[in-house]
């Protein structure tokens, strides 16, 4: 068991004893902070879970999302979600193996709810938090449709989104398997000298920006 896991277990044990949570239990509450109003909590608590907790009222269809996507999203993500320049490709088929794995909403994202959460919290990139819930639902529905994950008549809302079947739902291991390498520290004659060869070098490659003088702005973004 790694040390942080041991510490974590210790912390859980400590958390079960109220007095261990802090000095406050001994000396009374510090009375710092105020109680947020229900409206404040409602306005701030934007996080959405896979079971739908946090999804707001409202709805949006694939059809509603079509024009919105074209106006708001396509300049970076492409008309078909293919990605423009270095902006992320978000739609389409592909494999997660090989030299160029294709991590799209269809191939990689485990939960459709995450799409709503992310569009709502961070998009559109230059002017986030301008889309009302109905429009976030509509763009979410449209992107799911671009990824062939829902039909053309799909309407996204707090009931339908958690039920969308995502192909890579079981593609993640959420338990850290490390350490996954050896723990031996050989000190001498660790490998035959004949085996120690430079196989690859960064020498001569033109990928390294300038390392002296002012910031390198000649290299394209």
């Amino acid at each position: 068991m790694s040390s942080w896991r041991k510490l974590a277990v210790a912390a859980i044990a400590a958390a079960c004893i109220p007095a261990a949570l802090g000095f406050a239990a001994d000396k009374g509450p510090l009375r710092l902070g105020t109680t947020p109003t229900a409206a404040q909590v409602e306005g701030w608590a934007i996080a959405v879970r896979p079971d739908g907790q946090g999804l707001p009222a409202g709805s949006g269809s694939v059809k509603d999302g079509d024009e919105l996507y074209a106006n708001v999203c396509a300049s970076c993500h492409g008309t078909f979600g293919e990605g423009v320049g270095r902006y992320p490709r978000i739609a389409g088929e592909g494999k997660l193996t090989g030299d160029r794995p294709e991590q799209t909403v269809q191939t990689y994202w485990p939960y459709a709810t995450t799409l709503f959460d992310y569009i709502n919290r961070a998009m559109p990139f230059p002017s986030p938090h301008v889309l009302p819930p109905d429009q976030v639902y509509a763009v979410t529905a449209y992107v799911l449709n671009l990824n062939s994950l829902v039909d053309d008549d799909f309407v996204a809302d707090r009931n339908t989104l958690p039920k969308v079947k995502m192909p890579n739902r079981e593609g993640f291991n959420w338990i850290d398997p490390r350490p996954d390498t050896h723990d031996a520290a050989c000190m001498s004659n660790c490998r035959p000298a004949a085996d120690v060869k430079v196989s690859q070098t960064a020498e001569g490659k033109t990928l390294t920006p300038r390392t002296t003088g002012p910031l390198d702005t000649a290299m394209p973004q």
Binding site: S2, W4, L7, A8, A15, L21, G22, F23, A24, L30, L32, G33, T35, Q40, W44, A45, I46, A47, R49, P50, D51, Q53, C76, K95, L96, T97, Q103, Y108, Y111, T113, T114, D117, R121, A122, F125, P128, G171, N173, W174, D176, T181, D183, A185, M187, R191, A193, V196, K197, V198, S199, Q200, T201, A202, E203, K205, L207, T208, T211, G213, Q221
Partner: protein
């Protein structure tokens, strides 16, 4: 003037200098110009015993109300790799580790990672909300946060993508670009356990969503155990207020865990019984293995080290004596030992560790090196107090393939050529 006789003893005093003497104390700026123009040439066989800057009055106090490094140190800046990202607002810059002496990264050059640019947060208007599975939801001002009992600790923060460009092949010939997504600082703030003692926690509470006030409302799910263990709500770095780059006015520091969970400009902590599986912990910051399956929630930074001298930016200058210098760190605790190899990992010598040796902090190591000018393959290998040993890249690839991007904590090889130049290489 009393100084005049002494002045006449010197050969050819410059007219600038005479004028300076005449104009007296008001000439701070002129004195600075004289010092700059009077630099000794590097090839001067006999530098002046008393250079211009010794013969003049320097600027007085008040012209540098917030100090800067010497202008001779102009190369020491954060740099970035433009081709890595689509824009500068969702991007990363790199700490100039080749210049870092000791374990503290100056706040001015501590690497930056933004997901929606660097917000300008007004501390008077900023609030932190703590709610969810708590007995008493609370809204804190910055004044409230600073009134809690405080805690100062030294920890590194490393982006798990540090070295992520090197999985397939060496790409960047530079220490700054291969290892610069890290910095180490003294952080001051409040223990999260202190905050949660105020709100109380409901039975079944297991996870905390931490969310930033930036345009991306950057959000990560963090286990409550970790929060209660050693996480800090931080408002100061290296003795001063946090820099805007580092989350002003308040951020999380999650000791030893990957950079992106150390939420900056933090505005909200929601307590729940399940993780949220945000975009940053599903689509991003997960590691794709060779078989197409992915690892998620791989938070701790495992033991890692790198030689900071020599390195591609800091070559050797001919045979002779050198001090090999480097930094080692582990997100699991203290660095216990660092070994250095000069021959690409055939033989190793244990390096000297310099104090303070702190858990989840950068640790300095050095080793004397008498270089005879023959080719060398320099490596360092860290071991932490859990017994974990830093692996080779070959070992990591065998287990994880080359698509993982994150958590490359492999041994770095610097190739030293007979002319002293240093290159980033990988070994067969």
């Amino acid at each position: 003037m009393a100084e005049q006789p002494k002045e006449q003893l010197r050969t050819a005093p410059s007219s600038d200098r005479r004028r300076l003497l005449r104009t007296g104390m008001g000439a701070g700026v002129a004195a600075f110009a004289v010092a700059a123009s009077g630099r000794a040439r590097a090839d001067d066989p006999s530098p002046p015993a008393d250079p211009d800057w010794s013969q003049s009055l320097g600027p007085g106090i008040g012209d540098r109300v917030y100090g800067n490094p010497s202008h001779f140190e102009k190369d020491v800046i954060r740099r970035n790799v433009p081709w890595l990202t689509a824009n500068a607002e969702s991007s990363i810059s790199f700490t100039p580790l080749q210049y870092q002496q000791g374990i503290i990264t100056p706040s001015s050059v501590f690497f930056e990672r933004y997901h929606a640019g660097r917000p300008t947060v007004d501390p008077a208007q900023h609030r932190l909300m703590v709610h969810g599975m708590v007995d008493r939801p609370l809204l804190f001002t910055m004044d409230d946060i600073k009134r809690f009992p405080s805690e100062s600790r030294i920890h590194f923060i490393e982006c798990p993508a540090n070295g992520g460009m090197e999985w397939r092949a060496p790409q960047l010939n530079s220490l700054q670009y291969t290892h610069g997504m890290i910095g180490c600082a003294e952080w001051t703030g409040v223990k999260l356990s202190t905050i949660f003692a105020q709100t109380g926690l409901k039975p079944g509470a297991k996870w905390v969503l931490a969310e930033g006030a930036d345009g991306a409302h950057m959000a990560r799910s963090i286990p409550l155990d970790k929060m209660l263990d050693d996480v800090l709500l931080v408002y100061a770095q290296n003795g001063e207020a946090l820099r805007p780059e580092q989350g002003y006015p308040v951020r999380l520091v999650v000791p030893g865990w990957q950079g992106n969970v150390n939420i900056k400009w933090i505005r909200r902590l929601q307590i729940g019984d399940e993780p949220w599986y945000t975009r940053e912990e599903t689509s991003k910051y997960t590691e794709l293995m060779a078989d197409g399956k992915a690892r998620g929630f791989t938070w701790p930074i495992y033991a890692k080290s790198v030689i900071t001298f020599p390195c591609p930016e800091m070559p050797a200058k001919g045979p002779g004596i050198y001090e090999i210098r480097g930094l080692a760190w582990s997100g699991l605790g203290k660095v216990k030992q660092v070994d250095v190899s000069l021959d690409g990992g055939i033989n190793w010598t244990t390096a000297r560790l310099h104090g303070p040796i702190l858990p989840k902090a950068l640790t300095k190591f050095t080793m004397e090196w008498r270089w005879d000018g023959s080719p060398a393959l320099l490596q360092s290998r860290a071991m932490d107090e859990t017994g974990f040993v830093q692996p080779t890249l070959t070992e990591l690839r065998a287990v994880r393939g080359t698509n993982a991007i994150y958590n490359n904590n492999s041994i770095q090889t610097w190739q030293v050529k007979p002319d002293g130049s240093v290159f980033n290489v990988q070994l067969a």
